[in-house]
């Protein structure tokens, strides 16, 4: 792996982390008036996939999509303006945090119904096959989505037609407050479900950034060369509450010890340490990288705050495409 790619991955992961943590810090101002699902702690997968995919590849996501959107190249200002529900937001203020889109970056949309975008990614894969291009369609989802019927319907059809689809499951072990042990039988792996449906499936540690990048690169290369769909499952962990800016380890659905064990395995710090150790970056360079990102974030928040809300007449606009 070239250092250049690893440093870009670090930059992307840091950027996602700092955006999420700034949202958490400022959420109490009550200006971001929508449910907001932060991905602090699970930045790796969105950053790595986004880095490997081309801008003309498609990606779709879930309620927890900030990292996927930013990783794929989505515009930060327009994302924050959307979370502020402003007319300049990426969805014109009609979507909010759970409905992000950036067509120029190939980010085709995120929605809030669990599993809801999985068949859309397969449909985009079908459109690619019909048009004969070498694009890839990627969808991010969590461990809860594999409990939805539509997951099976979608993966099965992608296998049947050998469509160029990359399924990416971030297994963070919780569906809101419900642990995976209460939802899925012991000893059954998510990636094994996909394999049983006829899709080449692999899994890995979602908090090991360079390993994730390798796995994504391999899968994307295989799909691009006509190998059909691929399924990747990465285990990772969200630090903050399911929805909102706080920590919630005290309320009783998970333990502080479990959280601390995952925090010890902070993927951003891990990658930074690895790159420092092998001399791919210097401490000064990392500090400069952080400063640059923070300046960008400050400017984006200012843009979002200063943007106007949608005009009242927007209520009736865009119900139908005219």
């Amino acid at each position: 792996m070239t250092d250049h790619r690893a440093v870009n991955l670090l930059r992307s992961m840091k950027r996602i982390r700092l955006v999420e943590e700034t949202i958490a810090e400022r959420y109490a101002e009550w200006k971001m008036r929508c449910p907001t699902h932060l991905c602090t702690g699970q930045e790796t997968v969105g950053a790595a996939v986004g880095q490997v995919l081309r801008p003309d590849d498609f990606a779709l996501s879930t309620h927890r999509s900030h990292g996927h959107y930013l990783g794929k190249g989505g515009d930060l200002k327009r994302m924050l303006a959307e979370i502020y529900l402003k007319g300049t937001g990426c969805s014109g203020g009609k979507g909010g945090s759970m409905h992000l889109i950036d067509r120029e970056a190939g980010f085709k949309g995120s929605t809030a119904i669990v599993g809801g975008t999985i068949p859309l990614a397969v449909g985009l894969g079908l459109s690619i096959a019909l048009k004969g291009s070498d694009q890839i369609s990627c969808v991010f989802f969590g461990d809860g989505a594999v409990e939805e019927g539509v997951f099976y319907e979608s993966v099965s059809f992608a296998a049947l037609k050998q469509l160029p689809v990359l399924f990416v499951c971030e297994n963070n072990f919780y569906s809101v407050y419900t642990p995976v042990a209460k939802r899925q039988p012991a000893g059954r792996a998510i990636h094994a479900l996909a394999a049983a449906m006829g899709v080449n499936a692999r899994h890995g540690d979602g908090n090991d950034p360079l390993a994730v990048l390798d796995q994504v690169e391999a899968a994307v290369a295989e799909i691009r060369s006509g190998g059909g769909p691929r399924f990747l499952e990465f285990e990772t962990y969200r630090w903050r509450e399911h929805c909102g800016p706080n920590y919630d380890n005290h309320i009783g659905y998970r333990t502080e010890a479990e959280f601390l064990a995952w925090k010890e395995r902070d993927p951003v710090l891990r990658l930074e340490a690895e790159l420092l150790a092998r001399g791919a970056v210097t401490g000064e360079q990392v500090a400069a990288m952080t400063d640059t990102i923070n300046e960008e974030i400050a400017a984006a928040f200012l843009f979002a705050e200063q943007s106007p809300f949608p005009a009242p007449e927007e209520l009736h606009a865009q119900v139908f495409k005219q």
Binding site: L120, L124, L160
Partner: protein
């Protein structure tokens, strides 16, 4: 040039012409390439356009609706079909949560140009889960268009218009109309969505109808005419958007409204028509508007229960008589029915 063909053939012709006009049009559905070709409506398509554009699908209504939506986000125009509306209820998640709001919730960027053909019916013991008329359910969802053609010409024209509309369209066909014949233009005609047709002009009362009920209404109108009652019959064609100006203008002329519906009465299309006419045309109404729809019970299977469940032309005549305070004869209509009530005509031999 027009010639006489069936409603099913008109649908088939619309497919052929849409797929010839635009390589982005694809179609799929369970059984689309089987020997029966969805009541004859999809016969020959795969031979002509190939299995990449015309294909059978897994029994996965929700997932495949999502596949259609996803493909449409990259310039494809999918046409899905389901041999019974009831099975499509499995896909309400994708239809309501994604297709209906994709354009709006992302600020008017991508849109979802998909057409979903659903077949409804009545009779032949189809019963509770094989003949539901749930058009009102779809019409209730902002962002969906709902069309229900009655004639063969409109079946073709509305299907072509639906396929080339940039929004999701739920296209509902009544099984009892598939064998109906009518003049249909040979060219790829498009009937605009949202425009009703005034099927018959009249003075005394406005009937607002759609789909198969328009056929029952036509039979009723002839008998009413002979008894000196002149009714105006409006066939909505599109349930949503609904052509309110045509409805209001007619009610303002006649002063009376009888709204007909093929579905259950509570929150029905007929209920909406009665409500809006009551609000907008109150000054012009000579009496309270009425509606004729199905009772609020699941669809029964037995012929003896269906007889009291479905509305027929006789019921329409009697409803008009009730509004006008007249005893009207339905003897002629009863004599016309030489076949059992649970089939559309002697041509129908089942099994579905």
């Amino acid at each position: 040039m027009s010639r006489i063909i069936t409603y099913a053939k008109a649908i088939n012709e619309a497919y052929f012409q849409a797929m010839e006009q635009d390589p982005a049009v694809i179609c799929f559905g369970l059984g689309i390439d089987d020997p029966k070709g969805v009541f004859g409506t999809t016969l020959g398509l795969q031979d002509r356009f190939g299995s990449a554009r015309v294909f059978d699908m897994p029994t996965a209504e929700n997932g495949m609706t999502g596949v259609a939506i996803g493909a449409s986000l990259n310039g494809i125009r999918p046409v899905m079909c389901h041999q019974r509306l009831d099975f499509f209820l499995l896909a309400l998640d994708q239809l309501v949560n994604n297709a209906a709001k994709w354009h709006y919730m992302f600020g008017g960027q991508d849109s979802v140009p998909i057409t979903i053909r659903l077949i409804i019916g009545r009779g032949w013991g189809q019963g509770p889960t094989h003949s539901q008329n749930l058009q009102a359910l779809f019409a209730h969802i902002p962002g969906l268009k709902v069309v229900m053609p009655t004639t063969a010409e409109d079946a073709k024209g509305l299907l072509l218009a639906s396929i080339f509309d940039d929004n999701p369209v739920v296209f509902i066909e009544h099984r009892w109309l598939h064998n109906l014949e009518g003049h249909v233009p040979e060219e790829a005609c498009r009937t605009p969505l949202g425009k009703a047709a005034t099927v018959r002009e009249g003075r005394d009362l406005t009937m607002v109808s759609f789909s198969y009920m328009t056929i029952e209404a036509l039979h009723a109108l002839d008998v009413l005419e002979k008894q000196g009652i002149s009714c105006e019959l409006i066939d909505l064609r599109s349930i949503k958007p609904l052509d309110w100006p045509t409805v209001f203008a007619s009610v303002r002329k006649t002063g009376r409204l009888l709204a007909l519906d093929t579905g259950p009465e509570f929150c029905s299309v007929a209920a909406e028509v009665v409500a809006r006419v009551g609000m907008e045309c109150f000054d012009a109404l000579r009496q309270a508007p009425q509606r004729l729809a199905l009772p609020d019970v699941p669809t029964p299977s037995s012929p003896s229960l269906k007889k009291v469940f479905y509305q027929r032309s006789e019921d329409i005549v009697q409803a008009v008589g009730g509004m006008l305070g007249r005893e009207l004869s339905v003897a002629e209509l009863e004599q016309q029915r030489t076949w059992p009530l649970d089939v559309p005509g002697e041509w129908f031999r089942g099994p579905f």
